[in-house]
Symmetry: C2
Subunit: 480 residues, 2 copies
C-alpha cells in the first residue's frame, strides 16, 4: 500500500467509521457468535502475497462486525462506559503517524511536555489539591497510565518499596522477605477486583474491610482494622479508597479515611476514582474529594467517562520521587543530557514504552471545552435519573441503593434466581446489554448509561425491554 | 464537533499525516527545544468553551512538531525501530471506532477470537514449536501484550506463583515470604534493563550472568551459576534468554540454555526476542530459535520491526494456565456463560482493559503478505550491511562486534571520551540521531536502521555526517 492508496483507503475508512457510529443504534448490541467463530471464516495461515485493500476492507463487515459487542451503542448498559469521541480519534491518528515512543524526555520532548501540562489542565478541572500538580513547583505531578489497574499496582509497589526502605533504615539487619510477609494493604469489600489482583501481583496481603449499609468504607472501620493488625504484628502500609465502586458506584468516605491514614503515619493512601472521577469536573460532585489532600496518589480514567478513547488513565502523585526511586533502572542507551529537568515517564509506570496519549486529552479538552465536558457528564447523570424514575414507579422492582452518577442498581423483588433469569433473558435477546453485581448476597442488575449517543428514547427503550421480560417472568410465575 | 465536521477534519488529518511521513526526511530528526517548552506556548488551563477545530489543528505544527523526535525519519538510528505502516494506521482507526474493551470473551468476541487466530498466524510465520500455538489444541497460545517489559514481568510473576505453589505442596508449613526470599532468577549481563526491573517489581532477586566474548549467554555459565546458587540454598526458578540484546543485538545460546533449564527441572525459561524476533519470519535466521521447544514463554515485538504500530508485543505461552492461575480474580460483573470456551485475556496480562490490537496484525499480515514482510526485514539488514562496509573501510574506526540484524556497533579507535564527544557532536547537530551503549567498558555508537523509509542514500548520508564529525575531531587532536 503506497501513500496514494492509503489516502483513498483512509478516507474510505473515515466514512466507514462515521457510518458505523452514527447508525450504531441499528445493530444488535450483543453478538450471537460462538467462541472461536473467526477461525472458520478466515484462512488458517497468513497469505504469502499481499492482498488488495478492498478485499481486506470488505472483511470488516463480514468477519469482524458479527462478533462485536457494540460498546458505543445507546443500548449498551454493561460495566461502565468507555470513552469515544471524534477529537480523540483525530488525536490517535496523529499519534500513530508521529509514532514516537516517549520513554524518556529526549525520545520525544513534545510527548512528555504536553503530558505534564495536560495533567495539570485536567487536575485543575477536577479541583485537585495543588500538591498533585506539576505547576505547583513541588514534587507532585500527573502521568497517563494505561489502566486504573496499573495505577493501583504502581502505587502499591511504590508504597511497598517505601515501607521496606523505611523499615530497613530503622533496622538494617532485618530480612526484606520478612518485612514483606508482614505488610498489609487495605481496601473495602466493594473495591474493584484489580485491587485484590494488585496485591497478588505485588506479593503482599490485601485485607478487604466491610463497607457500611451504603457500601462505603468508613474511617472507623479502617482505624479499628489497622489497630488490630498492628497489635498482631502486621505492618499496615497501604490503603485504596474507592470513589465510585464498580458494583454500585458507592463512595468511600475520604474525609474520614484521609485523617485516619494521616494519624497512623507511613500509610500510603491511594484513591481510585476510575469511573466517577470524571464527574468531579462538576462542582456539585467535588465534595467527594474532601480528604484527598491527605492522599498520596489519585487516579481516574478519562477513557471511561470523559470522551477520551482507551487507553488514558490519569494518575497524580504527591511525591513522584516515591515511584521513580522504587523502579529506577537506568541503562546507558536510555540516558540523556536533560535528565532531571523534565520527567522521564518510563520511571513512573510498569512498561517501558508509551504512546503519545496526551494528544487525546488536548484535543478533547479544547474541542469540548470545560463546559462541554460538564454538559456531557450532567446529561448522562440525568439519563440515569430518568431510568431510575421509571423503575421506581413499577412496584415489582426495588432499588437497593440510590442511583449514583450514571449507574442505577435495581432488581425485581424476590429471589436471586428470578433476577438471574431476568438478566439472562435480556442478554439472550440482545436488544440491550447489562451485567450484574452482588450486593450483600443480593443479585442485582446494573444499568449504566454508557454511550455518548444515549438519549431519553434509549432509556425508555431499555425500560420497555426490561419490563417486557419482567412481564413474561411474572406471567410464568402465575402459571406455576 | 459533529460527524460532518469530523469527516472534514479527519480527511484533512489523513492528508496531513501522509504529508508528514512522506516528507519526513526534510525535518530535523532531533528537536532543539528545552524541557518544559510547551508550557510557554499554550494557555495555563483548559478553555471554558470549545474551540474550533481549525485553531486546534494549526497548533500541531506550531506546538507539537518543534518538539518531536522523528522516529520514522530515515535519519533516525537510535534505540531500535518502532513500527509504522499504512495498514496498521487503518487498523487503529477502526479499533478506535469500535472502541471495545476486550477483557473477556463476551465483552467483544471478535476482539478475542481474532487475536487467538492472529497469534497462530504470526507464530506459524516464525516457525514456533506447535506447543505454543492455540491451533495445536493443547494448553498453549498467544496473547498481545503492551510491551516486552510486561511480557517479561508476566512470565516472571507466573513462574514465581508456580514455584511458590510447588514448594508449598511439598512442605505446607513453609512461609511464603521465606520462599520468595530464596527465589533466584537469571539473565545475562547484556539483557534489557526491563529484566532487572521486572525483578524489582516482582520482588525477587535477579542475577546477571557474564556473557561470552560475543556477548552471548552460554549454557555452561548458566549451569554453573545455578548449581552454585542451589548449593547456597537459593531456589533457581526463572531464566530470561535474550535473542537480540539491546546494546549489540547479541543472541544468547538457546540451544544450550534450553537443555540446561530442562535438566534442572522447575525452571521457567522465558525468551525475549523483542527486536530480533521479527527476523525469524526469514528462514535464514530461524536457527536462533533452536532450543525454544524447551522454553515456557516466548516474546517479540511486531511493534518494533514488523511494521505494526506500537503497542503490539506478541507473547506465547506453552501452558497458558500457568499465567491464568497465577493472577485470576473473578468478580461477578466480569463473569459470563462461555468461560472456558475461549480465553478471557484479562487473566493473561497485568491491566484489565485491552484494545482491539489484533486488527493491526491482521491488516499488516494481509496487506504485505509474508513475502512483503520478509522483503522488509531483508532490506533493512542489507542497509545495515551497507553501513558496516562504509565504516570498515575507514581505518580510524573499529567494529567491536559483528553487525547483527539492522544494527551496527562501532567506535573510533581510541579513548571512550573521544567517542562520547563524537556522539555528542552528532546529536547536537541533529541531522542524524543515535544512542550509545557500553560493551565491556567500551563506549560504542549504535547505528540501527529504523525507518521503513530508509534507503541507501540515507545510509551514505549518515556515514558522511559521521565522517565529517570524525574529521573535525581528528583535526582538533592533531592541533593539540
Amino acid at each position: 500500500m503506497d501513500a496514494q492508496q492509503f489516502r483513498y483507503a483512509a478516507h474510505e475508512m473515515i466514512d466507514f467509521i462515521i457510518d458505523y457510529l452514527e447508525n450504531i443504534r441499528s445493530r444488535r448490541v450483543l453478538p450471537t457468535v460462538q467462541p472461536g467463530y473467526i477461525r472458520d471464516m478466515i484462512p488458517a495461515a497468513a497469505p504469502e502475497l499481499g492482498e488488495p485493500w478492498q478485499v481486506i476492507f470488505q472483511d470488516i463487515e463480514r468477519v469482524i462486525m458479527p462478533g462485536v459487542t457494540h460498546w458505543h451503542s445507546p443500548h449498551f448498559h454493561a460495566y461502565f462506559p468507555t470513552g469515544n469521541s471524534w477529537p480523540a480519534i483525530l488525536a490517535d491518528i496523529l499519534s500513530d503517524a508521529i509514532g514516537c515512543i516517549g520513554f524518556s524526555w529526549i525520545a520525544s520532548p513534545a510527548c512528555t511536555d504536553l503530558e505534564v501540562v495536560m495533567m495539570d489542565w485536567l487536575g485543575q478541572l477536577l479541583g485537585l489539591p495543588s500538591q498533585f500538580l506539576a505547576c505547583s513547583g513541588g514534587t507532585g505531578g500527573g502521568v497517563i497510565q494505561g489502566t486504573a489497574s496499573e495505577a493501583t499496582l504502581v502505587a502499591l509497589l511504590a508504597a511497598k518499596a517505601k515501607a521496606i526502605s523505611r523499615l530497613k533504615s530503622i533496622d538494617s539487619d532485618v530480612d526484606e522477605s520478612q518485612i514483606v510477609g508482614r505488610l498489609l494493604a487495605y481496601s473495602s469489600d466493594q473495591s474493584h477486583s484489580s485491587v485484590e489482583r494488585a496485591g497478588i501481583l505485588a506479593g503482599v496481603r490485601v485485607r478487604l474491610l466491610p463497607s457500611d449499609e451504603l457500601f462505603s468504607l468508613r474511617g472507623e472501620t479502617l482505624k479499628l482494622a489497622m489497630e488490630e493488625d498492628r497489635a498482631k504484628g502486621f505492618i499496615p502500609f497501604f490503603v485504596t479508597a474507592t470513589l465510585g465502586t464498580t458494583p454500585s458506584c458507592a463512595f468511600d468516605d475520604l474525609s474520614e479515611i484521609g485523617p485516619v491514614c494521616h494519624q497512623f503515619e507511613n500509610i500510603w493512601l491511594h484513591v481510585d476514582a476510575a469511573y466517577a472521577g470524571s464527574a468531579f469536573i462538576c462542582d456539585e460532585y467535588r465534595h467527594h474529594l474532601n480528604g484527598l489532600e491527605l492522599a498520596d496518589s489519585f487516579n481516574f480514567n478519562p477513557h471511561k467517562w470523559l470522551l477520551v478513547n482507551f487507553d488514558c488513565s490519569a494518575m497524580w502523585l504527591k511525591n513522584a520521587n516515591d515511584v521513580v526511586d522504587a523502579f529506577n533502572v537506568d541503562p546507558l542507551y536510555l540516558k540523556h543530557d536533560r535528565q532531571g529537568q523534565a520527567p522521564d515517564y518510563r520511571h513512573w509506570q510498569i512498561p517501558l514504552g508509551r504512546r503519545f496519549r496526551s494528544l487525546k486529552l488536548w484535543f478533547v479538552m479544547r474541542s469540548y471545552g470545560a463546559e462541554g465536558l460538564r454538559a456531557h457528564i450532567r446529561q448522562q447523570i440525568k439519563l440515569a435519573c430518568e431510568f431510575h424514575q421509571l423503575v421506581a414507579k413499577d412496584d415489582r422492582f426495588e432499588v437497593p441503593v440510590p442511583p449514583a452518577m450514571g449507574l442505577v442498581c435495581f432488581r425485581m423483588k424476590g429471589e436471586n434466581n428470578l433476577n438471574e433469569t431476568l438478566l439472562k433473558r435480556i442478554n439472550d435477546a440482545g436488544r440491550i446489554h447489562m451485567v450484574p453485581a452482588k450486593l450483600r448476597g443480593q443479585f442485582i442488575l446494573r444499568l449504566a448509561v454508557c454511550s455518548r449517543y444515549t438519549e431519553s428514547r434509549d432509556i425508555v427503550f431499555a425500560w420497555q425491554e426490561l419490563r417486557s421480560h419482567a412481564n413474561f417472568l411474572m406471567g410464568q410465575q402465575q402459571l406455576l
